[in-house]
């Protein structure tokens, strides 16, 4: 059920937390055999130095790794050139003005804004997994590139508290398969 990015995140979180918990348990257990501070301090300082370097390199690595996979249009110039389908989305209290059906396997350029307060625009796949999101801010248009990989009934959900009706602010989005060569695509589940 948990897949994709969520799975990576979960595994990383559990693994890193487990390491930390074990370290704490070990330190706590060590207080059963106390000794003088001078006996542990220099070793501790050495360990701190190694740990500091390791951690610094880890962070630098993580930072470098992530800047290659950020979702912003300016970071992915290739997408601008591949003739996307432009879809305008206007969020309101408490609904979205946008198409009800969109093609699968086609790069879509969502241009997302709001007519009143801040809203969110989250895309959930037919199994209910969150695939990505962008904010809908009044006065601004956020450009969000997205490709629906599978046909089916997706859910668009508001991701920012926007008033009393926030929880009701979601709607279905039908993604129909694109057959190469045929223009009249059929829509599953309609």
């Amino acid at each position: 059920m948990i897949a994709g990015k969520q799975l990576i995140i979960l595994v990383l979180d559990i693994a890193l937390s487990a390491i930390v918990i074990v370290a704490f348990a070990w330190v706590v257990a060590s207080t059963r055999r106390p000794t003088a501070q001078s006996a542990v301090q220099s070793g501790g300082y050495r360990l701190r130095r190694s740990w500091g370097w390791f951690y610094g390199v880890l962070l630098a690595g993580a930072f470098t790794a992530t800047i290659w996979s950020i979702p912003y249009a300016w970071a992915q110039p290739a997408q601008g050139s591949s003739d996307p389908l432009v879809v305008h989305v206007v969020a309101h209290q408490f609904s979205f003005t946008m198409p009800q059906r969109l093609p699968a396997d086609r790069l879509i350029k969502f241009v997302v804004t709001s007519s009143d307060v801040n809203h969110g625009f989250g895309i959930y796949d037919p199994q209910g997994r969150l695939l990505g999101q962008v904010q809908a801010m009044p006065d601004y248009s956020n450009v969000f590139y997205f490709t629906f990989r599978q046909p089916g009934t997706y859910t668009i959900r508001c991701m920012e508290l926007c008033g009393v009706g926030h929880s009701d602010m979601f709607q279905k989005l039908a993604i129909y398969p694109t057959q190469t060569g045929s223009s009249a695509a059929s829509l599953p589940g309609e």
């Binding site: 979180d13 701190r48 912003y72 009393v164």
Partner: protein, 495 residues
């Protein structure tokens, strides 16, 4: 130039019967009672999300706003009071000033509470413009009253911070010495003065970043009040969102740094080992000072129009800001405890557990602050999951630990206390796990009626909240009874 000689200070408050100890005690009692009420509200929200009780959406969002704004303010108040307790002797601080800032904060909280409970003000504790003004279900007076309340909380905090800054300069001769730069440049040091202890370094950093935060918060609230007074007042939504999170993120974050000042003072007492300043501490706190105020853009990753350099710099700053905590403060605490003759009391147990919560919450926070992960975590329950881990499971534990230390705990606790601790921690962990589960399942935060599996998880979490609250009640009663006993026997702080 004429040296600014520290002058003898008489504590007027002491004459008037308000001893520093009593003042801190009052702060603790007021803060903990408020937290208690707000935690009940938290439990009620969970129960509502789990369909165990019914709340109208407007009520839910009003309670959410009160819980968030109240908790942040109270935790700032409590950590500030605890930190002050150790600073007062080092910096010769005056008790009246603390009294004033506690009173201002309490007035602010009362105003905000009246706006929420009386008017139903409910745009969340971040009150992101323009939600306080558009499509509202609450009267305009409650909007204005809430912002005035926030202003009062800010005034209380500013007074506290200015006094600490003044104390640092008086005592150590300047801000650089307060940050212990004399470890690098011994010439800076005042003749006859020792290098500032870590508690003071933490205070200096918090004072500087805190005043910057309050300055930003003031501009924010004044802009909102201006919009409230004249609806044509123009506001740029992206600008104010940046300002909102600059203020909101930093103020919540600073409670950790206030707590660090307390940890530096308390752990030596439990371990019997001194915690000294050296160059690493200087560097580490200078890093925090510089990078903590730049972490806010991680709240705007999903605003794709935000300037690219801010997004990347925000991610880098968030990462860098974790280094001092992970490599110096928490590591230093573990090193201090390692093979020490640690006396296990309620205080020491809660401080250690709090350090763990700080770290585990920090890991989840860093995953969320990583741009390619943020697009599936932003505004999901992952967010309250991680910040409850280091606020409820970190800062709040430090507060309980401090209360126990403050009351005095020479003798080991009664055997039954183990049971209360287990109840508390089982409740805590279960409650947090349900948040994480919801987050990884993509359930959005701040939902009066969340989509599946939100309600199921919330119903289970409510059970854990009950367990948590039982343990917490028992522990606080235990500490309170100890305080009464010690008031009679005259036993004071510490071990």
């Amino acid at each position: 130039m004429q040296a600014i000689a520290p002058e003898p200070i008489e504590l007027h408050g002491a004459e008037a019967g308000l001893t520093p100890r009593r003042m801190v005690g009052i702060g603790l009692v007021v803060g903990l009672i408020t937290i208690y009420g707000l935690a009940m509200i938290g439990g009620t929200m969970k129960a509502a999300q789990g369909n165990l009780v019914h709340l109208a959406p407007q009520t839910f969002y009003a309670l959410l706003t009160l819980h968030g704004a109240g908790m942040i303010s109270v935790v700032v108040l409590l950590t500030a009071v605890a930190h002050w307790y150790f600073l007062r002797n080092l910096l010769k601080l005056r008790v009246e000033v603390l009294l004033f800032s506690v009173v201002a904060t309490v007035w602010g909280l009362l105003a905000a509470g009246a706006a929420v409970l009386g008017g139903g003000f409910g745009p969340g504790w971040t009150f992101l413009y323009p939600l306080p003004f558009i499509g509202t279900t609450w009267p305009a007076w409650s909007t204005g009253l809430f912002f005035i309340g926030v202003l009062f909380v800010g005034i209380g905090f500013a007074i506290f911070l200015l006094d600490i800054l003044a104390g640092v300069i008086r005592e150590y001769g300047g801000i650089l010495q307060g940050l212990a730069f004399d470890t690098f440049f011994p010439k800076l040091r005042r003749p006859g003065k020792e290098v500032a202890p870590p508690t003071v370094i933490a205070a200096t950093m918090v004072a500087l970043d805190g005043l910057l935060t309050v300055a930003a918060g003031t501009v924010l609230v004044v802009a909102l009040l201006a919009r409230w007074a004249s609806p044509t007042f123009p506001i740029d939504p992206l600008w104010i969102k940046n300002l909102t999170f600059f203020f909101g993120h930093t103020i919540a974050n600073l409670t950790i740094y206030l707590s660090a000042g307390v940890i530096y003072a308390v752990l030596p007492a439990y371990t019997g080992r001194p915690w000294n300043t050296n160059k690493i501490y200087t560097l580490s706190w200078a890093t925090s000072l510089l990078f903590v105020p730049w972490a806010w853009p991680h709240h705007l990753y999903m605003d794709f129009v935000q300037a690219p350099w801010l997004q990347l710099f925000g991610e880098a700053s968030t990462y860098i800001a974790t280094i001092p905590s992970a490599v110096v403060t928490i590591f230093g605490a573990l090193l201090l405890v390692y093979r020490s003759n640690m006396r296990w009391r309620i205080g020491s147990v809660f401080f250690m557990a709090g350090l763990l919560g700080w770290l585990v919450g920090g890991i989840a926070a860093m995953l969320d602050a990583t741009i390619p992960f943020n697009d599936v975590l932003h505004n999901t329950l992952w967010v309250p999951a991680h910040f409850h881990t280091y606020l409820l499971g970190g800062v709040f534990l430090f507060v309980i630990g401090f209360a126990s230390y403050f009351v005095g705990e020479k003798a080991p606790p009664r055997a039954i206390v183990k049971v209360w601790e287990w109840l508390f921690f089982i409740g805590l962990v279960g409650f947090l796990l349900m948040f994480y589960a919801g987050g990884i399942d993509g359930v959005p935060r701040r939902e009066a009626t969340p989509p599946t599996p939100g309600p199921q998880l919330a119903a289970i979490a409510t059970g854990f909240v009950v367990i948590l609250l039982l343990g917490m009640t028992a522990l606080l009663i235990e500490i309170w009874m100890r305080a009464r006993r010690h008031a009679i026997t005259g036993e004071g702080e510490g071990l």
